[in-house]
């Protein structure tokens, strides 16, 4: 029996989260809430909205990948991974500021880690430095879904990036 280790999409998601977490921590990044109290920014992985999230958050997930043949006559592939980064905040305008901070932070890419699952302790996988994630920005837009919407959707900013491994 073989326990499938995390593949590249999961590794990329977690490498980006690790990098953003480190940046948040080094700058002690916070945003004000509705009461004017400074609130920690957290980075989460996953596409599905979770009602237990505490805004403001930076949501990261890998959506899909594109695979091109590297050269004619070879089965070597050039894989690109489409990653969505959504900033969801409590107050209007914060989402744009947070997105800009994220875009500046990840601009130079980050270390790519390979994670191997620890049997019996899946929450603490072993990580290995395995290269670099190169970032290309695909889109950067606020998400406006109207006025009568949930707080999670109210102040959203979506940055789409294309990641490749070097």
């Amino acid at each position: 029996m073989t326990v499938l280790t995390w593949q590249k999409q999961s590794n990329i998601e977690n490498s980006i989260k690790k990098f953003i977490d480190a940046q948040i921590s080094s700058e002690s990044l916070q945003l004000l809430n509705q009461s004017g109290v400074a609130t920690d920014v957290t980075c989460v992985i996953g596409q599905r909205v979770n009602k237990n999230w505490n805004l403001p958050i930076i949501q990261v997930y890998s959506d899909s990948k594109t695979t091109e043949r590297l050269e004619i006559g070879s089965n070597n592939r050039l894989d690109d991974y489409l990653v969505i980064v959504e900033c969801r905040t409590l107050l209007s305008g914060q989402e744009r500021n947070l997105a800009e901070w994220v875009e500046n932070a990840i601009n130079d890419g980050m270390t790519y880690y390979e994670y191997s699952v620890t049997v019996g302790d899946p929450d603490n996988p072993t990580e290995t430095d395995s290269g670099h994630i190169r970032i290309d920005f695909v889109s950067s837009n606020p998400v406006s879904l109207g006025d009568d919407i949930d707080l999670f959707d109210k102040y959203r900013y979506r940055t789409t990036i294309r990641c490749s491994l070097t």
């Binding site: 959506d63 899909s64 594109t66 690109d80 489409l82 969505i84 889109s139 979506r158 789409t160 294309r162």
Partner: protein
């Protein structure tokens, strides 16, 4: 090192004349091909992400290209989508605004008018319709998950342009 480049013209006319006669029409053909491929790609992405049977195909069919100027063609007319497929944003970006709210009375089909858990993603809810006189008003439990068909299409643009140039 200095390199001299000599432009050898096939006809004795001016270079501007040749550009207008040969290069611009070719560029125009490539532009139209790229626009058509982009429309096809976006429609394919929408169709591929449909999760329940019985889709009318309205969103995919609402995506078309339109010439904006001599040198540009737009894909996906927002004013048309806002009018004819109002849910285009919610499908692309995801939305949790209906979670916890009660939908208008209607019926689920195919299957029982009031479905059980086994009917997950096997049919659709039709508001305002009844089945054998039976109607119900469900409470929305899950958010609409982001399908990201715009971003997935954007990620394919390098391939689309390459195909259009062939």
């Amino acid at each position: 090192m200095t390199t001299r480049v000599k432009i050898i013209k096939a006809s004795p006319g001016s270079l501007v004349f040749d550009v207008n006669k040969f290069v611009l029409p070719l560029a125009n053909i490539h532009l139209e091909r790229a626009a058509n491929f982009t429309v096809q790609e976006m429609q394919d992405q929408i169709t591929a992400s449909i999760q329940r049977p019985g889709s009318t195909g309205n969103l995919a069919n609402s995506i078309f290209s339109e010439r904006i100027s001599d040198k540009s063609i737009g894909v996906g007319k927002i004013s048309f989508l806002d009018e004819n497929a109002k849910y285009w944003k919610a499908i692309n970006y995801g939305s949790s605004h209906m979670v916890g709210r009660r939908m208008p009375f209607g019926t689920f089909a195919p299957g029982l008018a009031t479905p059980d858990a086994g009917s997950f993603r096997t049919g659709r809810f039709y508001a305002g319709q009844s089945q054998g006189g039976s109607m119900y008003s469900p409470v929305v439990k899950r958010p609409i998950q982001a399908h990201n068909y715009i971003e997935r299409t954007q990620a394919q643009l390098p391939n689309i342009v390459e195909r259009a140039m062939k």
